[in-house]
């Protein structure tokens, strides 16, 4: 069968590359069509001749391009007026900014505070506006350029990711696929995607989600019919599950410049969107740790791993590049805090990162404000902690932050202040934390079909099953006879 993936960035395939590879290994022709003009395959994708990359249309080619974006971004903004997003100022501001940008072709801006103007509009009135915008979506026709693209590819299934960027054009691919009788699916890209991005403006035939939380989100937040949803687990962590430490504790501590005798606490940086002023917070955090009455905590080695998207701002002027002895993985280390036992170390990888794995593996406890790497820490079985920071709007102001919290069935211990946080860390350094709860969370959140069950095969199965409906329908795409006399 022919499977066509459309991704807005080819790099996004890293979250399901094993599923793509598996489909090809099963004999299917897989085309990865990126909307960012990137066609360079890497890793498991590069070594399989049945996988090819190409460029997909970035936007609609007709008059509806800007208009469709306006309609969708307005609807995306509207979702953040709902009372469930009352505290989500950050998400609302982002959606508002994008909406204004779409109307003015980015020529005009309004202060973010204006995103709050309609916040108290009653739900019933919001719903009426949403119904109107949903109706306008039905008025948007399939785009002829995308029709032509799909017709030329003749796929048996179309798979899209991430689909839910605010005002994204991928809804138009679903529209065209439906018009052409091609079954379509959406792969949820990450744990926050269904609650903090845009809406699914055109519902595909299948929505492949990580877990029951995303299933509920798909139904409640996106009005997805339940029968279209397939719970597969999170394929992006399969490789991470397979990893083993690539360094001994002594080797790791030498690379990081930390004392192997002292416990290590790792701080995982969040994205700039979640925590815009994180360096100031980390400075306060280090000071709080050092002032602890618990000598183990006060003297612990502290490793700060910046978020991969913003690591450059963290290092001191004099940083050192280090390489893992056997695998050759590279990391950069520096001491910007004037504290000999506090280092910043990062690596350029974003997925299945040896440096991240080893960092977490050799840590006694993990701390973060709100970041995906907290999930990787749970996979390795380490206790994870967070502390409320009023400057980090991406904590309580997002829905997905709460999913990882212990109080909500997750694995992350929440502290409301530094004293409570320090007490939690002291317990963790003493080995007192809920290992079973961490494992239970990982199973529920990442591998709902079993901790030892890789997810990529389930994703591949779901896509195969979808493509089979196309074959079964025996729908033959008509050849393009444009221009034929």
């Amino acid at each position: 069968m022919r499977i066509l993936f459309v991704v807005n960035r080819l790099a996004h395939v890293r979250h399901f590359d094993r599923a793509v590879r598996l489909l090809a290994d099963r004999g299917h022709d897989v085309c990865l069509a990126s909307q960012d003009d990137d066609v360079e395959l890497w890793g498991v994708l590069a070594r399989q001749p049945r996988i090819r990359a190409m460029v997909a249309p970035r936007n609609r080619g007709d008059d509806w391009g800007a208009a469709a974006t306006m309609v969708r971004r307005t609807r995306d903004y509207l979702r953040y007026l709902h009372p469930r997003y009352a505290s989500a100022n950050l998400l609302r501001e982002r959606a508002f900014e994008k909406m204004i940008g779409s109307v003015s072709d980015s020529a005009e801006t309004l202060g973010p505070e204006w995103s709050e103007l309609l916040l108290r509009v009653p739900k019933t009135d919001q719903k009426r506006l949403d119904v109107l915008l949903a109706k306008l979506e039905t008025a948007i026709p399939a785009d002829s350029d995308i029709d032509a693209f799909l017709t030329a590819q003749r796929p048996d299934a179309l798979v899209l990711s991430p689909m839910v960027g605010i005002g994204f054009t991928q809804a138009d691919f679903v529209k065209s696929a439906r018009a052409l009788g091609i079954p379509s699916a959406m792969l949820v890209f990450s744990w926050d995607n269904l609650s903090n991005k845009g809406l699914i403006h055109e519902m595909p035939d299948r929505v492949l989600v990580w877990n029951d939380i995303q299933l509920r989100e798909a139904i409640k937040l996106h009005k997805c019919p339940e029968h279209r949803i397939v719970i597969t687990g999170a394929p992006r962590f399969d490789e991470f599950f397979d990893m083993q430490p690539a360094s001994t504790r002594a080797e790791f501590c030498q690379l990081a410049g930390l004392d192997p005798v002292r416990p290590i606490i790792t701080y995982l940086g969040s994205s700039k969107f979640v925590a815009a002023a994180e360096q100031a917070f980390v400075t306060r955090w280090i000071a709080a740790i050092r002032s602890s009455a618990d000598p183990a905590l006060a003297g612990a080695g502290l490793l700060i791993r910046p978020h991969p998207a913003g690591e450059k701002n963290w290092h001191a002027d004099s940083s050192t590049d280090v390489r893992w002895p056997k695998v050759g993985e590279k990391a950069t280390v520096s001491r910007p805090f004037g504290d000999d036992r506090a280092v910043v170390m990062n690596s350029p990888m974003q997925n299945a990162d040896v440096v991240l794995y080893d960092t977490v593996h050799h840590s006694a406890a993990i701390v973060g404000l709100n970041t995906s790497a907290e999930i990787e820490a749970a996979i390795v079985g380490r206790p994870v902690f967070t502390i409320l920071d009023s400057n980090a709007k991406g904590q309580q102001g997002t829905l997905h932050f709460h999913y990882l919290l212990r109080a909500r069935g997750g694995h992350v211990e929440l502290a409301e202040n530094f004293d409570q946080h320090a007490a939690q860390l002291s317990d963790a350094l003493a080995g007192t934390y809920g290992r079973d709860a961490i494992a239970a969370f990982v199973q529920r959140f990442v591998r709902p079909h079993g901790l030892d069950m890789p997810v990529a095969p389930r994703v591949a199965d779901a896509i195969e099953a979808l493509a089979a409906t196309h074959e079964a329908d025996a729908v033959q795409l008509k050849p393009d006879t444009t221009g034929v006399v």
């Binding site: 003015s104 072709d105 202060g111 509009v121 109107l132 109706k135």
Partner: protein, 483 residues
């Protein structure tokens, strides 16, 4: 020829009854189709008794999947119109547009959209959102126009209206006023076009193309009063000039045929006025334009009377026909030589004619009756009145009647200047020919002696002849085939 005139309410016909009668007298069958509101005004007896004029109840709203969505979307587009540069100063109009959106979004006139200003915490209710002075740049306006066009093109013709039109099988469809917020009448234009029936839009009044909603679906013809409206139709709504026909304003034809019903002495006696002193008539504006005008008018009377040249003049106050209630308990007698001319007649009002006829000068803030005053060749004056800026300078049509814009209304920037204008006017210090020429341009651009009624009637039938109705052609051919 079969002509279907679709109106949302019967009272709209008051501006076109002469045209309907002219068409019927010429042998055409005219059907007046309205949704049949329980509180509709009765149609004039001349219309209802005419053998070639029929009335029918027609659908009011769509019943298909676009039922609410089409109206809600159009209301939003109408509101967006007031965010564009020509309307930056039109705060009152913008507020009304926002109020229309609030009503559409709440679906209920008893509930309101409220919010607090994120910067100053002021509470906004419905139309107050318009006070924010939001504005769109040209790029944004163009994008919204494009969106509106694309969505409107995607809204299908209403099956209910198509069914009605197929039953009626008219040669031509007329709709007015068309530009109400959220205009459901757009669907009549759409359905007529879908069926190949020529459709025309006679503009209801002088302010309609700048104070209401937009033309969502382009009719085959727009019948406008004058060159000003033709420019409005082309500039603000992108209507091709060849589709705009200047006919004049038929609503004034019957007014122009009126004659005074009483002589000056009798008239002054009826209102306790001094027949030897000049009369100044104050024409009140609508509540939308001027709100509660009583206090201002009383102050105006006192102020002008302080001028020795005007101390002895009579004053007639003519409340707006739709706002007579605010005058019901007002005692103007204490001012001396002040009469109140109350009437609820909206067109060709004899009491208005008499008041204007016997007046030496006329004053008003911003009202259609200023045009009637101009028809009678009277000097018409206005002044920029504190508190009424939004209903005057805040509308575009206010400027159209001003002398400095080619009109006939003398504008004063304050009361002192106005008093001077008025004193000069009551002593004959004005050019009646200049007033006539300006009025002619505005309501009878084809010539003072050429009533607009037959011009519009002919334009309607010409349109049908130029583009015969597909439905009628089909019926004719089917009938012939049957024989």
């Amino acid at each position: 020829m079969r002509i279907l005139f679709q109106l949302p309410r019967t009272n709209i016909l008051r501006h076109f009854d002469s045209v309907v009668l002219a068409l019927a007298d010429a042998g055409h069958d005219v059907t007046i189709a309205t949704p049949g509101k329980s509180n509709d005004f009765p149609l004039p007896q001349a219309v209802t008794s005419h053998p070639r004029i029929a009335t029918r109840i027609c659908p009011e709203v769509r019943e298909d999947a676009w039922k609410d969505a089409a109206t809600d979307f159009r209301t939003l587009v109408d509101c967006g119109h007031y965010l564009e540069s020509p309307f930056f100063e039109a705060e009152k109009l913008r507020s009304r547009a926002f109020r229309a959106v609030a009503q559409a979004m709440t679906g209920d006139k008893t509930r309101h959209l409220t919010a607090r200003c994120p910067t100053c915490n002021t509470k906004f209710v419905d139309g107050d959102f318009g006070n924010l002075r939001p504005s769109l740049g040209d790029a944004a306006a163009q994008r919204l126009h494009n969106l509106a066009r694309l969505v409107e093109d995607a809204i299908p013709s209403d099956p209910g209206r198509e069914h009605f039109l197929q039953e009626e099988a008219p040669d031509v469809v007329l709709v007015s006023p068309l530009v109400r917020f959220g205009s459901e009448q757009s669907d009549w234009v759409k359905s007529a076009k879908a069926l190949g029936i020529p459709v025309g839009f006679p503009v209801f009044s002088w302010d309609n193309l700048t104070t209401k909603g937009v033309i969502h679906v382009e009719p085959d013809r727009i019948f406008v009063w004058n060159a000003v409206q033709k420019r409005e139709a082309t500039e603000y709504y992108g209507i091709p000039p060849e589709k705009v026909v200047v006919t004049g304003a038929p609503r004034f034809d019957s007014f122009m045929e009126l004659r005074p019903s009483v002589d000056r002495a009798a008239y002054c006696r009826s209102l306790n006025l001094d027949a030897a002193a000049p009369i100044v008539t104050y024409l009140c504006s609508s509540e939308f334009v001027a709100g509660h005008e009583v206090a201002f008018v009383e102050q105006w009377i006192e102020e002008i009377r302080t001028d020795p040249r005007l101390t002895s003049c009579n004053v007639i106050v003519r409340p707006h026909p739709r706002s007579v209630r605010q005058w019901s308990e007002v005692d103007l007698a204490r001012h001396g030589r002040v009469g109140l001319s109350l009437s609820r007649v909206l067109n060709a009002d004899q009491s208005l004619y008499d008041a204007l006829y016997h007046s030496a000068a006329v004053v008003g803030l911003n009202t259609s009756a200023q045009i009637e005053a101009g028809i009678l060749g009277k000097p018409v004056l206005t002044l920029l009145a504190p508190g009424f800026e939004k209903g005057q300078q805040g509308t575009l049509h206010f400027r159209y009647l001003l002398r400095e814009e080619g009109g006939f209304v003398e504008l004063a920037n304050d009361l002192a200047e106005h008093t001077a204008h008025l004193a000069r006017a009551v002593t004959g210090g004005y050019d009646v020919d200049e007033i006539r020429r300006a009025v002619e341009r505005f309501i009878r651009p084809e010539g003072w002696d050429r009533p607009a009624t037959p011009i519009l009637a002919n334009a309607i039938t010409d349109m049908a002849l130029e583009k015969p109705s597909v439905v009628r052609r089909w019926l004719h051919s089917a009938t012939r085939g049957g024989r």
